[in-house]
């Protein structure tokens, strides 16, 4: 990098108007660099999603390196013309000549902010909570002790939470309403949390016990008890949300102590689907999403890695699939990337479930191995696929099975989870019906296309089962094709909420992703050319629509019991790392509370959106404080004064 800097300066000095400051950001492989420049004014640059290995500044002023994403909080100084290494922790930096960032004005009082705390500001809301009226100071050197605190995954979590607990904003958009708790803090401060975990293992699957209890007394040690380390992780998250920054006292407190919380999830499977084929996400982007999942007590990352548009997985046996099917050599996931992500997720209590999208949506396989694809890139694509490019796996070709079984074998090892998604959605028969290889095969074997299709997918699913995995499939397998699926198959409903009834009626377990409520990618027009008025495409699912959907509607108790949980989806046509966080959050948080807290509390009282919004507003602000680019729920005025804005609708209208 030094050499190219020299060159840059050489070029630059020939202009003789050097007023620019440059900051160079490179990852450790030095394969990627970004240059930021500023003229005259001081800037804050967010590099949250940038792979920073080292940062170098060429200017006559200091650079401040900061771990928050908006240049707030403590910083490390980088002197003129010097370099900082191992800067992965840097999420923003400010640089330039003079500060023009808004300086807080002493004279500004700000318009009033009245945010009720009828329910604790914990998201998702715990099942059982009791609180008092004391205020307990939290020691900055808070310690975690007990045998549970020495389990490796917990040790790492404690390290994270020692930072997360003390996130603060000097001018919070939603200041905590201290009038609801005793304004005189107790003399002693909370300096010790005892962590008690019953089981010593770190196995994580759908049946892992995630419950925990947390007590915070007015004086003395707080106690976090859990059956498993994963319950303890949820407890740490809850503890971090109990702590509030008291602006006037410049310190951290837990209001409304003593606390007694006993908590567990209503649904076991609480996930987000991310599509990394239509747009690529770097490993760091995925890790950031997994972080945010864990903060919302979501526990499944459904990785829709492959699709027609690209094949980013670097297979050991068939490297040509990624070699020709990935966007570029940079847009790939190696076995090592996957192992890292699975481990990263596990340390946050998040399962990673891979989806092997087949035999539809699989054009990209055909770039590497053409003989395993049918109707590969047929033009025009209309009639052969839902969206371009056309291409499905050639289900008659022996090589197809060979390839897909090898990939299943590879993934069964890389992804330790006991669930494996075998897809089976959006198949277009015309693609196969016009492929002479397939029509010949049908004639020779005297079977129909649908029989061939059924045999292919059932064989594929059997192969998955042989790896001791539970098979997940999309709803078409059962509801559209009526394939005879073993009863242990888990059916993912997506086409509409009515599918939940149809699947559970047949006695299958289900995971709900009804697109009319829980597709978070919709509402931004279709990606394809599509003139108005059709341009609006499917509807945007507003946070309250997401929150209000009851997946148990019209089900018997026995049918509801077959709901394992749900996933909100983030398909990738119009989302990539630039806008995905705004699309996901805070709507996926609204979804998360439904899955964790359920529709009623243990006393049988309904959880309603009118209460939820009062907690979701501060939670969104908190996500932003933690560096997530969550979108706003409404204007700033309403954020500070929700009761002025969230009033019942005019009954006369």
């Amino acid at each position: 990098m030094h050499k190219s800097l020299v060159l840059l300066l050489a070029v630059y000095s020939s202009v003789a108007v050097a007023v620019t400051n440059n900051v160079y950001i490179c990852n450790n492989k030095k394969s990627k660099s970004q240059v930021f420049s500023a003229v005259d004014t001081r800037f804050c640059a967010c590099v949250k999603n940038t792979q920073t290995g080292f940062i170098k500044g060429v200017n006559d002023d200091d650079i401040k390196l900061i771990s928050s994403s908006d240049c707030t909080g403590s910083y490390q100084k980088l002197g003129p013309n010097s370099e900082a290494k191992n800067t992965q922790w840097v999420n923003s930096f400010s640089y330039g000549k003079s500060a023009v960032a808004a300086q807080p004005s002493q004279m500004v009082q700000g318009i009033p902010a009245v945010n009720p705390v009828n329910q604790p500001w914990i998201w998702p809301l715990p099942q059982n909570w009791e609180r008092g009226s004391n205020t307990v100071r939290v020691s900055k050197s808070i310690r975690f002790e007990g045998k549970g605190a020495r389990q490796p995954i917990v040790v790492k979590a404690i390290k994270r939470y020692q930072d997360l607990i003390f996130k603060k904003e000097d001018y919070p958009m939603i200041p905590y309403n201290w009038s609801t708790t005793d304004n005189k803090p107790s003399r002693s401060s909370l300096s010790t949390v005892v962590i008690d975990i019953k089981s010593t293992g770190d196995h994580l699957d759908m049946d892992t016990d995630e419950s925990y209890t947390l007590t915070v007394p007015v004086s003395g040690k707080a106690v976090l008890q859990a059956e498993t380390i994963y319950g303890a992780l949820h407890g740490l998250e809850t503890l971090s949300q109990l702590v509030q920054y008291y602006q006037e006292r410049r310190s951290f407190y837990i209001p409304n102590a003593p606390w007694k919380i006993s908590d567990f999830p209503k649904y076991k499977h609480r996930g987000i689907l991310l599509d990394t084929s239509r747009h690529y996400y770097a490993v760091q982007d995925i890790e950031k999403i997994i972080d945010t999942l864990s903060w919302n007590k979501l526990n499944v990352f459904h990785w829709h890695m492959l699709d027609s548009t690209s094949f980013p997985y670097v297979s050991k046996k068939y490297p040509e699939l990624a070699a020709k099917g990935a966007y570029t050599p940079r847009h790939v996931y190696t076995a090592r990337d996957i192992t890292n992500i699975v481990q990263y997720a596990k340390e946050r209590g998040v399962r990673v479930i891979p989806e092997m999208e087949a035999p539809g949506h699989s054009t990209a396989w055909g770039y590497g191995i053409p003989e395993i694809a049918s109707c590969l890139n047929t033009q025009p694509y209309f009639g052969y696929t839902i969206q371009p490019p056309a291409g499905q796996l050639n289900i008659a070709h022996p090589k197809t099975k060979e390839v897909i079984y090898s990939l299943i074998d590879e993934w069964a090892e890389l992804f330790s989870d006991s669930f494996f998604h075998a897809a089976g959605d959006e198949v277009i028969m015309k693609c196969w019906a016009e492929d002479p290889y397939i029509t010949n095969h049908l004639q020779q074997t005297n079977q129909t296309l649908i029989q061939l299709f059924e045999n292919f997918v059932l064989d594929m699913e059997d192969h998955v089962r042989q790896k001791n995995k539970t098979v997940m499939v999309w709803q078409e397998m059962l509801l559209e094709y009526n394939f005879t699926l073993p009863k242990d198959t888990v059916i993912q409903v997506w086409i509409g909420s009515e599918g939940v009834k149809e699947v559970t009626e047949k006695g299958y377990r289900t995971i709900v992703s009804a697109q009319n409520f829980w597709y978070l990618d919709l509402g931004f027009g279709r990606p394809r050319s599509n003139p108005y008025p059709e341009v609006q495409g499917a509807g945007f699912n507003h946070w309250n629509r997401v929150y209000s959907y009851d997946m148990r509607a019209n089900l018997t108790t026995a049918e509801s019991d077959l709901i394992l949980g749900a996933e909100a989806t983030m398909w990738g046509e119009l989302a990539d790392p630039n806008n995905v966080e705004d699309r996901l959050w805070p709507r996926a948080a609204a979804f998360a509370e439904r899955l964790w807290s359920g529709y009623e509390n243990p006393k049988g009282e309904a959880l309603v959106s009118a209460d939820a919004i009062l907690r979701l507003l501060p939670w969104r602000e908190h996500l932003v404080l933690r560096g997530v680019r969550a979108g706003p729920l409404n204007q700033g005025f309403c954020t500070r004064n929700p009761l002025d804005c969230f009033q019942p609708l005019n009954p006369n209208k």
């Binding site: 050499k3 190219s4 060159l7 630059y12 020939s14 003789a16 440059n22 030095k30 394969s31 970004q34 240059v35 420049s37 003229v39 004014t41 804050c44 023009v100 808004a102 004005s105 002493q106 004279m107 500004v108 000097d170 958009m173 690529y280 027609s308 690209s310 025009p380 969206q387 371009p388 931004f524 027009g525 394809r528 050319s529 108005y532 341009v535 945007f540 507003h542 309250n544 990738g572 046509e573 119009l574 989302a575 630039n578 806008n579 966080e581 009118a610 932003v624 979108g631 706003p632 729920l633 409404n634 204007q635 700033g636 005025f637 309403c638 002025d644 804005c645 969230f646 009033q647 609708l649």
Partner: protein
């Protein structure tokens, strides 16, 4: 200028996706390589100016510096525009761009000349330039002195020597034309990985070239007012966000930053005269724009040829003014807000309160000095008479004509300025309510006219009220596209922002109350934005009254977190409509497929400059736009 020719657009080389498309251009097939000591020279009038003496022309000086900086980034960045084949040295050498400008200190105002002509010539070898080119042999930096590398450089030099020396000229009338011309020039330049960069790994030195030379471009904007409205009251945007937005605007040749700085929710603009307005009306202590902030935003805009057009929305949308001075507003925080205002909190200026005009007069004087633009947007939208009727005095004025003279007598007299050009918006007699509105408008507009400012108002003032307005008043259309014609028929110029096309905030669901529903206005994807015809159903004479348009970024559901992805690349789609117009000479729209291909590149460019622009389709489609965008 003649409209853009669609056939020419179709022939624009894929590797040079110019945006917005220039009015007219021709190009060839040869490649011109920028030498490593490539420089930009400026000629003011007929006089050759050295770069150091450009100090007297800071806008030009900084524009040149920025251009050189961006070229350096292209040279040193890892993503070369690899669509070019990797053979080196077919091109002739370009060692300078010579800029000629006649009026380097033209005012930045509506109607300023922004045209430019850019020529990049390709000169084949002649005996006289052979040696000049051969002497220019350092364009590939020699870092590794090993023999292999040395041989490679020699090979390249000979390849260059066989071609020639090219030149580039940018001629403009004003410095604003230079900014646009340099932007186009930068878009013409592509980078190509040199083998030295890939070999060394950490040593990124790309070759810069202008493919498809010779280029000849003549370009001028279709509309003079090409803007983006940003609402900084409903959510606060840090100065860095605004500056980044201005920077992005300049790359698509937008020239108006309509700063909707105040609204009912928050009063973030610091006033010297009335500091309490911010002290009590800003939503948070650090969510304010200081006098220095405003100055730096205006300066940053000016350096990029962007006018900062402030809007002081009144008399509606003013609850935040009443936090400091309760007696200049009425119905503040009245409930239910829907009876008194479009959004909470309700509140409007009191048009019969003398102190209202004291405050306003102080502010208008201050703003006039603070914001240099000749135009100022004075708001006037969504005035709710129910709000005014909550005040005894205002109700009396409306209900009792006999009291009006007395009530008005307590107010400052109407300024004589502009009175002789007042014209009624409609025929017929004024309603009692509009008479009250007129009391406010006469005085408020008079204050602006006294400061030599030309007012811009929202369309309600002209279409939904029957009031007197100065002849020069510009009207901004937002409720629907067809309203433009009605206003033009009144003889008033328009700025177009129809919600049907150019409201970028729409589609994120209703944000008020317990709604689960869709927004009151639908999401407009880039193609919808691109399809806004600013001249539909207008006669050629009426079309002249269209000053231009603005996309609007209202901030109910937008803040720092999602600003970029809401704005971009849709704002770029509007920018091309505004700069290049929508139609060719035969009235046909530009091919959408071709626009999609270019826009997807614009989006990549924005992401590279640090703007979090949203994707317009899956990555696969960037490589195969024809497959994705073919009409059924």
């Amino acid at each position: 200028m003649a409209p853009v020719d669609n056939d020419a657009v179709k022939n624009l080389p894929a590797e040079q996706p110019l945006w917005p498309i220039p009015t007219s251009f021709t190009h060839g097939k040869d490649s011109v390589v920028l030498s490593s000591n490539f420089a930009i020279k400026v000629r003011i009038g007929s006089q050759q100016t050295s770069l150091t003496s450009l100090e007297n022309y800071p806008i030009i000086q900084k524009a040149v510096a920025r251009c050189m900086d961006r070229l350096a980034v292209k040279r040193n960045t890892t993503r070369p525009d690899n669509s070019l084949d990797s053979s080196v040295g077919q091109g002739s050498i370009l060692s300078e761009l010579v800029i000629t400008v006649n009026s380097p200190e033209a005012a930045l105002e509506f109607g300023a000349i922004e045209s430019y002509a850019l020529n990049v010539t390709f000169l084949p070898i002649t005996s006289s330039n052979f040696f000049a080119a051969a002497g220019n042999n350092n364009y590939v930096l020699n870092k590794r002195e090993d023999e292999h590398h040395h041989a490679e450089i020699l090979a390249r030099q000979s390849a260059i020597a066989l071609t020639g020396t090219s030149s580039a000229f940018l001629s403009t009338e004003t410095q604003w034309g230079i900014l646009h011309g340099l932007e186009t020039f930068t878009q013409l330049v592509r980078s190509r990985a040199s083998s030295s960069s890939t070999a060394a790994g950490d040593n990124i030195v790309n070759t810069l070239e202008v493919p498809n030379a010779p280029w000849s471009i003549q370009d001028a904007p279709r509309y003079s007012h090409r803007g983006l409205l940003l609402d900084t009251s409903r959510h606060y945007f840090p100065v860095a966000d605004i500056i980044r937005t201005l920077d992005a605007m300049s790359t698509v040749k937008l020239n108006v930053f309509h700063w909707h700085v105040l609204d009912q929710q928050s009063y973030p603009l610091v006033s010297k005269t009335y500091p309490d307005l911010t002290a009590k009306g800003a939503e948070r202590a650090d969510r304010i724009y200081s006098i220095d902030d405003v100055a730096s935003i205006i300066r940053f805009g000016e350096e990029r040829g962007i006018r900062v057009l402030p809007e002081f929305d009144a008399p509606g949308h003013t609850a935040s003014w009443g936090r400091a001075y309760p007696n200049i507003t009425v119905c503040v925080d009245a409930l239910p807000h829907s009876a008194y205002a479009a959004e909470p909190p309700a509140g409007q200026l009191d048009p019969l309160e003398p102190f209202t005009y004291s405050v306003l007069d102080g502010l208008v004087k201050e703003w006039a000095a603070q914001f240099p633009d000749k135009h100022v947007h004075i708001g006037g939208d969504e005035i709710n008479f129910n709000c005014w009727k909550t005040s005894q005095r205002l109700k009396e004025y409306i209900d009792k004509p006999e009291k009006r003279r007395e009530l008005e007598s307590k107010l400052p007299p109407v300024s004589p300025e502009g009175q002789n050009t007042m014209r009624q918006t409609r025929s017929g007699s004024q309603s009692d309510e509009d008479k009250l509105l007129q009391v406010y408008l006469d005085r408020a507009i008079g204050m602006y006219l006294n400061q030599k400012k030309i007012p811009i108002v929202w369309e309600e003032i002209a279409l939904e009220h029957n009031v007197q307005l100065p002849e020069s008043t510009v009207v901004q259309v937002w409720k629907n596209a067809a309203n433009a014609k009605k206003i033009i028929q009144q003889g008033r110029p328009v700025i177009l922002s129809s919600v049907e096309y150019w409201y970028l905030d729409c589609g994120s669901g209703a944000w008020l109350v317990g709604s689960q529903g869709q927004s009151w206005c639908g999401f407009t994807n880039w193609q919808r934005v691109y399809s806004y015809s600013l001249t539909e159903k207008l006669t050629p004479e009426q079309q002249k009254m269209v000053y231009g348009g603005e996309v609007c970024m209202w901030a109910e559901q937008t803040d720092s977190s999602n600003l970029d992805s809401n704005l971009w690349p849709r704002t770029a789609a509007a920018a091309e409509v505004l700069w290049s117009g929508s139609y060719d000479a035969e009235g046909k729209s530009r091919p959408l497929l071709q626009a999609a291909r270019r826009l997807s590149e614009v989006r990549e460019r924005l992401v590279e400059m640090g703007v979090r622009a949203a994707p317009i389709f899956p990555s696969w489609c960037s490589k195969h736009p024809e497959a994705c965008l073919k009409e059924r």
